[in-house]
Symmetry: C2
Subunit: 240 residues, 2 copies
DNA sequence: AAATTAGAATGGTAAGACCATCAATATGAG
DNA sequence: CTCATATTGATGGTCTTACCATTCTAATTT
C-alpha cells in the first residue's frame, strides 16, 4: 500500500505545514479567514520566522492559502479550486513531454464523454449559451482568415462551456488542461498553415443540433470528427 | 485569453522558481542531476539564501526536485511523477469540492475509453497478464472476507494494467490518480459494510473474455457495471 | 584490512535588521 | 463640512550572519 510519505522528521517547517493544513481541512479556520501574522505564528510555534515562511510557501503552492500584502494582509485561507490539479497535470505533461498525438487521443475520449453527458444535462440556458458562442464563431469564420485567432478562442470557449455543463469538477479541470496545452500549439502554426474554418464552424453547429435533438452518440461522432480535423493539421505539419 | 498568472513582480523567489523550473522542463538539467548548492545559487541569482530556500520549497512542492542532506546532497531534479497530481486531487476531495460520485462518474467515462482502447491494443502477453491478475483476485475471493484488502489490491492492479496497455501516458497517469484516491476510501469502510466479492470477481473474468473476443462495447458495458457496483457501496454508506 | 575518527560540504534553523506595501487615521485645503 | 493629501503602523519581502545537524570522504588508528 503506497500513499505514505517519508517520515523525514528533520524539517520543522513540515510539521508547521501539517498542523496548519489540518486546521484548514478540519474547518477550524475557514476560507476567507486570515491566519495570524508571520510574527505571531513565530511565537505560537516557537520557531524562527524563516521557518514559518517556508511553511507558508508550501501551503501557498498547495493552493490552501494566498498571501496579501500590507496592513490587514497575511495568509488568507483559500477556497479549494481545481487550479492546483490543473497546474500539476500541466507540469506532468510538459515534464514527460507528452506528444500531441497522445493528447489528441486523450482529448477525443474525454471530450466524447463530456459531450455525451452534456447532451443529457444541458439546460435550455446552456443550449442558448452554446448557440451564442457558435454564432460568434460563425461571424469570425465569415470575416476570413484574419480572424483565425478569434475563431479559435470562440472554439475553446465552446468546449469549456461543454465541460462546465457536466457539472462535474473533474471534467471541468481536465477540459481546461487539455485546451491550455493544445491551443498554444495550435495557434503557432495555424497561422502558417491555415485552417479549414468553414468545416470547423459547421461542426459546432452540427454539435449543437445533435444536442438539441438529444442524440448523444451523434454528438460524440461529430466531436470526434471535429477533433480529428484539428489534429490532421498536425499530421501535415510533422512532414515538413 | 485567460490562463495568465498575476504579474506579482514583488516576490523575487518566484522569479527564481520560474528560472529553475524552465531549466528543468526544457531539459537543461535532467532528472537525477543536482542543482548547485544553496550558497552557490545565492551567488548566481544575487539574492539571499533565505530567498533561494523559499524558491526551493515551492519547486519541491511542485514535485520537480527533492532535497538530500549532507555532503554531495542538495536539490536533485526528480523524474516526473503523478504524486503531486494525486495529492492535489486528494485535497479537492477532502475539501469536498469533488465527491465520490463525481469521481465514479469520471472513472466510468475514462476507464470506458481505456478498456475500449485496450481491446484493440492488447498483446497476447497483456492478456496473459490480465488473466494472471484475475486468477489471483479469484483466489482471494474464494478465501473469503478476510482477504478483501488483497482482492482490492488485485482489482486495482487489473485496472492499472489496462491503463498501461493503452500506451498513452495521459491515460496511464489519470488511471493511477483515480485509483490511488479511490482505494484509500474504499478500504476504510468496505471492512465495515462488506462487499459482494463474487460479482466483482466475475466482472473481471467477463472483462477479459470480452477483450479476447475483441468486443470493445461489451467490455465497456461490463466495466460500467463493475464500477457502478463499487460506487453503490457509497450510496448505502451515505445514508447512515 | 577493517574499524574508527576527523574534516568539510551541505541543508536546517535561528535572530535581528531594514525595506515595500497598504489600510486606517490624521491632517490640511477648498 | 467635504474631499484630497500626508502620516503612521502593521504586515509581508528580503538580506545578513551565525550556528547546528547530517552525511560523505578521507585520514587515522587498531
Amino acid at each position: 500500500m503506497p500513499m505514505f510519505k517519508p517520515a523525514k522528521q528533520n524539517r520543522i517547517f513540515e510539521d508547521v505545514v501539517e498542523q496548519i493544513q489540518d486546521a484548514i481541512l478540519s474547518g477550524q479556520v475557514k476560507p476567507g479567514e486570515t491566519l495570524p501574522s508571520e510574527r505571531e505564528l513565530r511565537e505560537v510555534f516557537k520557531v524562527s520566522r524563516g521557518t514559518i515562511r517556508e511553511a507558508l510557501r508550501v501551503l501557498e503552492q498547495k493552493g490552501l492559502i494566498e498571501i496579501k500584502l500590507g496592513v490587514g494582509g497575511g495568509a488568507i485561507v483559500k477556497e479549494a479550486s481545481v487550479d492546483v490539479l490543473a497546474e500539476s497535470l500541466d507540469l506532468l505533461i510538459r515534464h514527460r513531454k507528452v506528444s500531441m498525438e497522445h493528447l489528441a487521443e486523450f482529448r477525443i475520449g474525454v471530450e466524447g464523454d463530456i459531450v455525451a453527458m452534456a447532451v443529457e444535462r444541458a439546460t435550455p440556458q446552456d443550449i442558448e449559451e452554446l448557440e451564442r458562442i457558435t454564432k460568434m464563431a460563425q461571424s469570425y469564420c465569415d470575416k476570413g482568415p484574419d480572424y483565425v485567432r478569434q475563431f479559435l478562442e470562440a472554439d475553446m470557449q465552446f468546449h469549456l462551456t461543454l465541460s462546465r455543463i457536466t457539472k462535474n469538477p473533474m471534467y471541468d479541470a481536465i477540459g481546461r488542461i487539455i485546451h491550455e496545452n493544445i491551443l498554444s500549439y495550435y495557434k503557432d502554426f495555424i497561422e502558417r498553415k491555415g485552417i479549414k474554418l468553414k468545416e470547423n464552424c459547421d461542426d459546432l453547429a452540427r454539435l449543437v443540433a445533435a444536442m438539441k435533438a438529444k442524440r448523444p452518440e451523434e454528438a460524440r461522432t461529430v466531436l470526434k470528427e471535429h477533433i480529428t480535423r484539428y489534429a490532421s493539421i498536425f499530421e501535415e505539419k510533422k512532414d515538413q
